[in-house]
C-alpha cells in the first residue's frame, strides 16, 4: 500500500476514511483496498494528510448585542463554545466567519477572545462589517485576530492536505454595492492558488456570502465571480460564509456553498420581512434558531460533510 502511494500516482488515488469504523479505504484504478486507521495515522506524512478530521464553524457572535430577541449575545456564544467542546469528535480548530462583535469595541473583542480560549483550540477569523467600526476601520480587529494576515485581513493555510483560504469582503464597501473583495485581494488569491494542484481540496471562508443570496438586502459579493473563476479548476471547493444568520446552501459545479447560523440572533429569510433586521422570535424559540456548524473532511469524498446543530 505504502509503495503504491508514490507521487506520480497520488492523483489517481481516492482515499476515504470512516471515523466510525476506524478503517481507511483506498481506491486505485477502481480496485479498493483498506488499511487500518491506526496504521494510516502512523504512516508517513502523506498518509496523515488522508486521515479524516473535523473543524467547527461559529459565526456572527455579535458580542455586545443585547436587544430582542437576545438580551445577552455573550451567553449564547458561551453556549455555542460549550457545544463545540461537547462534539463527539474534537475538531482540529475553529473558524469564526465574522461579526465577532456588535460595535468593534475592545471589551467586545476581548470577551469573544476569552470565551473562545475556553475551547482550547486554535481559532481562525475573518472580520464581518461589525468588526470594522473602530475609528481606524478594522485595525482593532486586525491587531487582535489578524496577526500575520495581509491587507484587510486575508490569509491562507494548509491543514492535513486541505488548503484553507480566509477572504475579507467587508472592507471598503462601495455605495450601492454588496460585499467586495477588491483587486488587491483577488490578485493575492490568484497567486495563492496558482501553484496548487487541482486535486487539492479547498475551503474558502469569508463573512458575506460569495454568491448572491438576495441582492435587495446586499446579501452577496459584487466581485465574487472573479474569485470563483480562480477556484473553478479545483475538484473540491467548499465555501463557508455567515452574515445572513441562517442556513442556506447551494452547489454550483464543484463548488459547495453554505452559510452558518448566528450564535446571537436569527434574521428573516430573504424577502420575508421589510428589512434584514433581527427576527424577533419568542425567547423559547431563540435557541432553536442559533447554532454551530461541524465540518467533517473525508479525503476523496466529493464534499466536506457539513453538520449544522442548534443551541436548543
Amino acid at each position: 500500500m505504502t509503495d503504491e502511494l508514490n507521487d506520480d500516482r497520488r492523483g489517481f488515488l481516492k482515499c476515504m476514511a470512516w471515523a466510525g469504523t476506524g478503517a481507511l479505504f483506498a481506491f486505485d484504478g477502481g480496485i479498493g483496498s483498506s488499511i487500518g486507521l491506526d496504521a494510516a495515522l502512523a504512516a508517513p506524512a502523506r498518509h496523515a494528510a488522508a486521515a479524516p478530521f473535523t473543524f467547527a464553524q461559529v459565526s456572527d457572535s455579535h458580542i455586545g448585542f443585547n436587544k430582542p430577541p437576545n438580551a445577552d449575545a455573550r451567553a449564547t456564544f458561551r453556549e455555542a463554545i460549550a457545544k463545540v467542546k461537547a462534539l463527539p469528535q474534537q475538531p482540529d480548530f475553529i473558524i469564526h466567519t465574522g461579526d465577532v462583535s456588535q460595535l468593534s469595541r475592545d471589551d467586545q473583542f476581548d470577551d469573544a477572545d476569552q470565551m473562545l480560549k475556553a475551547a482550547g483550540l486554535p481559532v481562525f477569523f475573518v472580520p464581518g462589517e461589525h468588526d470594522m467600526l473602530d475609528p481606524d476601520g478594522g485595525k482593532a480587529f486586525l491587531n487582535r485576530f489578524g496577526k500575520g494576515s495581509r491587507g484587510a485581513g486575508w490569509y491562507s493555510f494548509n491543514h492535513r492536505g486541505v488548503h484553507f483560504v480566509a477572504l475579507v469582503n467587508v472592507a471598503d464597501l462601495k455605495p450601492g454595492g454588496m460585499g467586495n473583495l477588491g483587486p488587491e485581494q483577488l490578485k493575492w488569491l490568484a497567486a495563492d492558488l496558482a501553484g496548487r494542484s487541482s486535486s487539492t481540496p479547498i475551503v474558502v471562508f469569508a463573512h458575506i456570502p460569495l454568491w448572491t443570496v438576495y441582492a435587495e438586502w446586499g446579501w452577496g459579493t459584487d466581485d465574487a465571480a472573479q474569485a470563483l473563476k480562480l477556484l473553478a479548476r479545483f475538484g473540491s471547493v467548499t465555501v463557508l460564509n455567515g452574515h445572513i444568520h441562517q442556513i442556506t446552501q447551494k452547489v454550483e459545479g464543484k463548488i459547495a456553498f453554505h452559510t452558518a447560523r448566528s450564535t446571537a440572533f436569527p434574521q428573516p429569510a430573504p424577502g420575508t420581512a421589510p428589512s434584514p433586521g433581527p427576527l424577533k422570535v419568542p425567547t423559547e424559540q431563540l435557541h432553536s434558531m442559533l447554532g454551530i456548524t461541524d465540518a467533517l473532511f473525508v479525503r476523496g469524498h466529493d464534499r466536506i460533510a457539513l453538520i449544522d446543530s442548534t443551541l436548543a
Partner: protein
Amino acid sequence: MTRAFKILALQAAALASSAVLLSTVSVVTRAAPAPPAAAVAIDNFTFRNPVVTVKPGTTVTWTNGDDIPHTVVSKTGVFKSKVLDTGDKFSFTFAKPGQFGYFCSLHPHMTGTIIVKA
C-alpha cells in the same frame, strides 16, 4: 397736567416701549433666523427619505431607528459619521449648493442624496 392725562401719557409710554420691544424682537428674528434643519430617519435598513432638497446652511440630522448599527458616509468624502447605534444621531450642515450622495458603509445598498440649492 390732569390725573387723566397722566394716565394716558403713561399708557402711551407703555405702548411705545412695547412697540420698541416688539420691533426689537422682530429685528432679532431677522438677524438670526432659526437655523434651517431637516431630518432623515434610518429605519428598516433604509434612509426613509432618500432624496432631500434643502437650502444652503441647512443642518441635516440622521437618526438611527434600527436595532442594527448604521453609518452615514458621503460618497465623495464630504462627511462621515461614526457608527450610529440605535437612537444615535449624526448632523451635518450643508453650507454650499450641490448634490451630496451618501451611503451606509456597513450596508452599502442603503443610499441617499442631499440636494442643496438656494
